[in-house]
């Protein structure tokens, strides 16, 4: 007996709860099984790269917050690093340490959102709110630094905009003391949950070759078994002075499946706490901002600077023609390349698995569209 079934075009998004913002997927399905999946990007396109050509170098800093609003510090950092290298600006050691400290704190909360929404997409609400609860603490800390909780606009060329308030480092230490046991609690609550494991294990496996071919970066790439981390392999700032491991997918997960991508993020949070602790203990006492009174006009030239953001390689390609604004700025983000692999991996999955895949890739809409 054979059933004649019809293909159904299923429109997922742009206002679908698990597309993490405004993504749209056009699915061809037979019942629940996906035959084809075409991502439709551009709903959040704001023309950031064009704006960069119209505003001066410092004026573009707030815009970088909006590249990835869950990791605004990392975007600030990448842009600041790019312009500094282009213009040859020296950064004081204290500023470097503050930068790495806030960037790693931001990585923690970005991963918290990632794993929290992952659980939310799997139907578990409580881990998400618990993750947000931990995130609030870091938000408070970062608010102390720069007055903003989400879009920080904290970095400046040659340093950061404000020094740390009194007692800030102790409060960071307090947070870490609080956070590490909480992460264990989080793992007991959801990461090792049987149902959660069943939902994630072996789903949407991305092979090492595919990951490289599609240009996956960051945790997604590491979960597929590629040992690559810009902080170690192309060191910038003070990362060579710090001790940390590049996370490998743990042995209890299948290489490249959703569960390994999930665990890589969990373990990266642990590594980030290590880095933050080192920053706290080694914090130097010189200036926080090598401030220049002159209008910034980098010499003509071009540069590509990439940093390890929570969603992988965040690259800024800058061309200067000696003016006070870039001639061209191109931003390379991790989510964009991750989005492209959905089309390759999705066929054969079920609709629920597509949700898992999207959550595991940690896509974020503003980073895709910029």
């Amino acid at each position: 007996m054979s059933f004649v079934t019809e293909e159904m075009i299923l429109n997922m998004g742009p206002h679908h709860p698990s597309t993490h913002g405004v993504l749209r997927f056009i699915l061809r399905t037979d019942g629940e099984v996906i035959y084809g999946c075409r991502p439709d990007v551009g709903f959040l396109h704001r023309g950031l790269e064009k704006i960069a050509e119209k505003v001066s170098y410092p004026q573009f800093m707030p815009y970088t917050d909006r590249i990835d609003y869950l990791a605004a510090m990392n975007c600030n950092f990448g842009y600041a690093l790019g312009v500094e290298r282009l213009a040859g600006i020296e950064v004081p050691a204290r500023a470097e340490y503050i930068r790495v400290l806030v960037v790693e704190l931001n990585r923690i909360i970005s991963h918290l959102i990632s794993v929290g929404t992952f659980a939310l997409d799997m139907g578990a609400v409580t881990p998400f709110t618990h993750a947000l609860r931990e995130r609030e603490w870091v938000n408070d800390l970062l608010e102390e630094l720069c007055g903003a909780r989400l879009t920080y606009n904290y970095m400046r060329f040659g340093g950061v905009s404000f020094d740390m308030p009194t007692g800030f480092l102790e409060r960071v230490g307090n947070f870490l003391d609080y956070f590490e046991p909480r992460l264990d609690q989080f793992n007991r609550l959801i990461s090792n949950n049987k149902i959660f494991k069943e939902r994630l294990s072996g789903v949407a496996v991305i092979s090492r070759e595919d990951a490289l071919d599609y240009g996956l970066v960051g945790p997604n790439l590491r979960a597929s078994g590629v040992d690559w981390d810009l902080r170690r392999d192309e060191p910038y700032s003070i990362y060579p002075e710090l001790k940390f491991e590049v996370v490998k997918p743990p042995s209890h997960t299948e290489l490249g499946d959703c569960y390994s991508r999930y665990w890589v993020r969990i373990l990266e949070m642990v590594e980030s706490t290590r880095i933050v602790r080192q920053c706290v203990s080694k914090m130097p006492n010189d200036s926080y901002w090598n401030r220049s009174k002159k209008k910034l006009k980098p010499p003509p030239g071009e540069i590509y600077v990439r940093t390890e953001a929570p969603r992988g390689e965040l690259g800024f390609y800058l061309i200067s023609r000696g003016e006070d604004r870039p001639y061209r700025l191109k931003i390379r983000t991790g989510s964009f390349s991750a989005m492209s692999i959905v089309e390759k991996i999705a066929p054969g999955l079920m609709v629920s698995d597509l949700v898992t895949l999207i959550a595991s890739l940690d896509l974020i809409a503003p980073e895709i569209d910029r």
Binding site: G123, T126, R199, S352, V355
Partner: protein, 446 residues
Amino acid sequence: MDNLVNDLYREFTLFQMIGHDAAAFVVMLACGLAVLTFFGFMGGLFTFLERKLAGWTNSRRGPNRVGPYGLAQFAADGVKLILKEDIIPAEADRTFFRFAPYLVLLGTALSFVVIPFGPRLIISDLNVGIFYLLATGSFTVVGLIMAGWASNNKWALLGGMRSAAQIVSYEIPNALAILVVVLTAGTMSVQGIIRAQAGGVQHWFLFNSPFCILAFFIYFTTSIAEINRIPFDIPEAESELVAGYNIEYSGMRFGVFFVAEFSNIYVVSSIAVICFLGGWQLPGLADAEALGPIGRKVGESLSYPSVLSALMIAMLPCIWFAWKAMRAFSADVLRKSALLPSRLVRMNSELLLLGLLAAFATLALLLHWPLRSRLPSIYELVFQYLVPFLTFFSKAMVIAFVILLWRWTLPRLRVDQLMSVCWKYMIPLGFVCLVGQGFWLCLFNP
């Protein structure tokens, strides 16, 4: 049959002022109203409880704005839903779209007919009671499919199909688990099953045999799947299907789905209590002798007129205090809030006074009711109505609490995993239980 409904019916017909049909009609109307009230109340209570529990597990506060501890939140929600626009999509099948919520509601509401709250507190003790419960339970799936199809929305359709597949599959192990109980009790009557568990905790069917414990867990798991709750809430998986079958519903139609769903929690918990936890029987207080001879004397000496008179006398100062308190409160509110019209506050206090006076009058009327047939004495009222009701209710609430808590603890399964859990594990286990219990009864319970 021996229950309150029949007593009421007899009381009415003894008057001979109205015919038997009219008396039956009046009694049935009263029963229907009582059931619907309880039904709506349970739905509301569970929405409140769920949100509060969700708040606690999520380290939030939950509803705390409307009424004390946010207790009136569900009333506010209900008012909001009623006031909202009822949108029917242009391409929807209007007839089915409108009808579907009521079918879901019907399935749940009908279950209350055979759910007992005490030895005499049951609308109708059908001799196929537990069978009837299973049957009404599957009513909802028709409504869900209808909603999914009539909405003319692909997500709703997927939700409806998922719920059909899920509920139809999970009914099998569910019924198998209940069959174990029926086998043990030797009856399908709900009251019969409860009476078979008389005599203390060790006589509850949960502890009857290893197979019964297994059957309890099968029942518990599958009933959660039947009421579409996490970890089996795939028909309305909000992160996958946006909202599932009710995606196109708004206003009170959506509210009806919700009330039915939440009342269903109570229904499945009460079935678990009936079948495995001894129903309304409170161990130790099951028989009336528990209070000893003195307690019995005191209880029986209390007659209706004396208690009613005492109540009336007690009410007079209450009315006075309530009136004063309300005046003070309204003055306070008026002082604090210019938004609230003074007329409304005064009207509220007057309504309260009127209500209290009405209650007083009702008591007075009851005092002079020419009682022809035998109504329960105060003693019986406590031991045959109040204590069993509270026992049953608290047992059911314990089960419901676990069901509510699960939703905020676990993630959900995938469709195929859900099916394999049912067909590969639950159903074979159910059969093992049934056959095993048969042998057990032959061997140990002659």
